[in-house]
Each structure stands twice: as structure tokens, then as C-alpha cells.
């Protein structure tokens, strides 16, 4: 499926704003992203599997709060940075 990548993470994707990745859940998708772009996952999700405070993930334009919800191959996933102050 297609995954939109925000600017702070594009150093991992060689500048690509959209990449392909697979996964039956967001957690699996992030694992796959990390295989393709090593190091990306830990900047987004902490070592206990929690989304970092200033990151957000949208699936089909709805904000996701859990990483275990199922995905389908046609889903549109957007990684996004939240406001984090100056």
C-alpha cells in the first residue's frame, strides 16, 4: 500500500514523499517500513510500541490511536508530524 512520509522522515526514504510498504496492521506496516528504511520506525514509535508524542498516523483520513488495528491493501496511510512547539 502507499504510505505518505512527512518531511522529518524523508532523510530515511531518500527524499521520497510516498513509499510502498506492506502490513496487515499498522504495527506490521511500520516493521516493514523499517526493513525498507532502517531506523525510521524508532523515530516514530518507542521501544514499547507506543506512537511518539508528536507523531500521528492517519488511515483513510481518520486518525489512528492503536497500532494493532487491521489494514487492507487499498488503505491510504499517512504518517504526519503533530505540532511540537518551537
Amino acid at each position: 500500500m502507499k504510505v505518505r512520509i512527512p518531511t522529518p522522515l524523508r532523510s530515511y526514504t531518500a527524499g521520497a514523499s510516498e513509499v510502498d510498504a506492506d502490513g496487515v496492521t499498522l504495527a506490521a506496516l511500520l516493521d516493514d517500513l523499517d526493513r525498507r528504511f532502517p531506523g525510521l520506525r524508532f523515530r516514530v514509535v518507542d521501544e514499547q510500541g507506543r506512537l511518539r508524542q508528536h507523531m500521528r498516523i492517519f488511515v483513510n483520513r481518520a486518525m489512528e490511536h492503536g497500532l494493532d488495528d487491521p489494514l487492507t491493501p487499498t488503505d491510504e496511510v499517512v504518517l504526519m508530524q503533530a505540532l511540537s512547539g518551537g
Binding site: 512527512p6 522529518p8 522522515l9 532502517p38 531506523g39 524508532f42 523515530r43 516514530v44 514509535v45 518507542d46 521501544e47 514499547q48 510500541g49 507506543r50 511518539r52 508528536h54 507523531m55 508530524q81 503533530a82 511540537s84 512547539g85
Partner: protein
Amino acid sequence: MPFDSSASTSLLVGTRKGLFVLSCDERDGPWATSEPHHLGHVMQHVVADAREDGVVLAATRTGHLGPTVLRSSDLGATWTEASTPPAFRTGDRLERAVDAVFWLTPGHVDEPGVWYAGATPQGLFRSADHGDSWSSVDGWNDHALWETWAEYPYEGTPDGAMLHSINVDPRDRNHLYIALSSGGVFESVDGGADWRPLNQGVFAEFLPDPDAEFGHDPHCVRIHPAMPDRLYQQNHCGMYRLDRPGERWTRIGDNMPPEIGDIGFPVELHPRDPDTAWVFPMDGTDVWPRTSPDGRPAAYVTRDAGESWQRQDTGLPERGWLTVKRQAMTTDDADPVGVYFGTTGGEVWASADEGESWRCLARHLPEIFSVETVAPRHDPR
């Protein structure tokens, strides 16, 4: 822009918005300030490895992204990210996650490639491969008393409770000191497998027990490289010295002028003379402005292990409300020793004559978190 590796002295200036490198051929000559490295990244602590030419590690994160460590083996021409950054174990019993890597310390000279990292929350991590992969120091992070000693889950310290001032005894790779803000100073004699508090004699006005074993707020602790039995500490509540095997810290800040007081963040040492140390006092009265006392900035130096202190303000502004954080002051290895500090207002100041006179090397940088020299500072033995 790569660092100028031919420069006689270079400073790694870690700021809230990136890394800047200041370089010179002669310390009293012109200095050049680099373009920012990693602009916009929070560069908490950037440290050169005196054991390995050209190696620099940086503890960093961004406003959005999680913490990591960057490594350069060519003095900044290229950087790589740690393949396994400092992190608690997945499934950690307290569900801890590293929020920031706060402090970096190279390991013992006989252990090339070993580094230690202190974090928020107050975890300790170790790398044995030059900073590429990091693992938990379980003897600390899973110590039976960790929750008692550390600030967790509530962190009262501004910007989060942190583990800092990781000191490795140059005579014994297994003899370690660490400090918690807050929590106190702790010692390990077995490479980090076990720890005990080392805070006797240290005042903590915020603790009900005047003889509390832990819970203190060391701001910066330094072991003297030439006399490793001597430690200096700048605490939230005073300046101290400890001569081992003694167990009780002596408040050497009582010898400071009372109108200045003995509150501050950094304490920095002379690389060869164990009796000489520098501090940069701040206002710890009233609501704790943490700026230069009375708006008159000065470093203070002791030449007699804290028995007396001399003011050093030549060249500094007559009026100024400077704040110098715990990692933002350092010394070099030259003779006479160079002393450097950076301010939260983005200025870098230097002295090429052991603090007798100062000049400003850079202005208008972002908030400065750390200042470290590139050149080997001293023989760690």
C-alpha cells in the same frame, strides 16, 4: 560542511537547533563558525572521542522524532545513525521508553569503541561498537532500587529527569560514577552491575531529611583525570569536592563570596592540576532566575581545591543575564588551559589564559546546550 580537522582547536557547539563547529589556528586568533550541521535537530550533547581521531558522537532528537545517536568518523564530513539507538528493553517491567539521550561519555581508554549514554528517563546505556548499537546497562536500569532512586514516573526536573555526568575512573574501567537530576550521585565498582548512593555531606534544601542517602540534585560531577580520587560537584545546593576513599563531600562553595553564592550548572577541571576548577555561578535566590548573579556575569576559579575562589570577568559584559547549562562549559588540553562556555542566548565565550580574560567567539546562535573540544583533552591514564 566538514569540520576543519587541521584547526588547532575546534569546539563542538550543540544547540537546540543543530550543531555548530567553531575552529581556529591559534586560540587568540580568528575563529570561524561553521554552517549548521543537522539544522533543526536538537543537539543535546556532541562529544569527540579522544581515543579515536575523527570520531564524534551526537545525542539528538527533533521536535517530532524520537531520540537517537549520530556518529561521524571523519570529524563531521559524513554521519551515520546508530543502528540500535539507546532504548529500554521492549516489554520493560515499567514500560519505560527513552525520551531523550542527554549525555555521552567515551569509555575507558583500554576499551576502544565503548561509550556510555545517559537518558531521560534516567536510564544508562552502553555501546561496545563505537556507538552503533546500544544496550541497556541492566545493573542500573533494572536495579531493585531504581524506582526508589530515580524520578519516575513523575519527573519534577524541568525538561525531564536526566542521567548525566557519567565518569569512568581512568585507573579502572569498572569503576563508574553517574549522577541523577534529581536523585543524587551513584557509584559502581563492578562495571555497572551494582550501584550505591554517594551523597553524604551534600545539602538538599528540598528534602526533609538533612542526612538523606539519595534524592539530591547534582548538576555536574567531574572526576579529575590526573587525580581520579578527586571529584568535583556543582549541585543545585552548592559546590562540593570529594577525595576518595572518603565518603563525605565537602562544601567548597562556602568559600565563595556570599553575595555570589555557590549555585550553578557546570564545573570544569584543569587537565593537569587537580586543585584548579572553574564554575559559572548563577542566581539561585528568590524564584531561581538561573542567570548571572546581579546581572554581572563571571566565571570563578579555584587554585586550591576550593579553599578560595577568584572572580574572572575581564572581557565579559559588565551587565548580562547569562545562563550556562551543565554541558555548555569545557576546557582544552593546552598550556595555558583554554576555557570555553556557551550561553542559552547563543553566545560562545573563550579564554586562552585560564579565565584571566574572555572574548566572544560567536553570537546569535540558537540556545546552546553543550560545548566540547575536539582535540584530545588529556591522557585518560
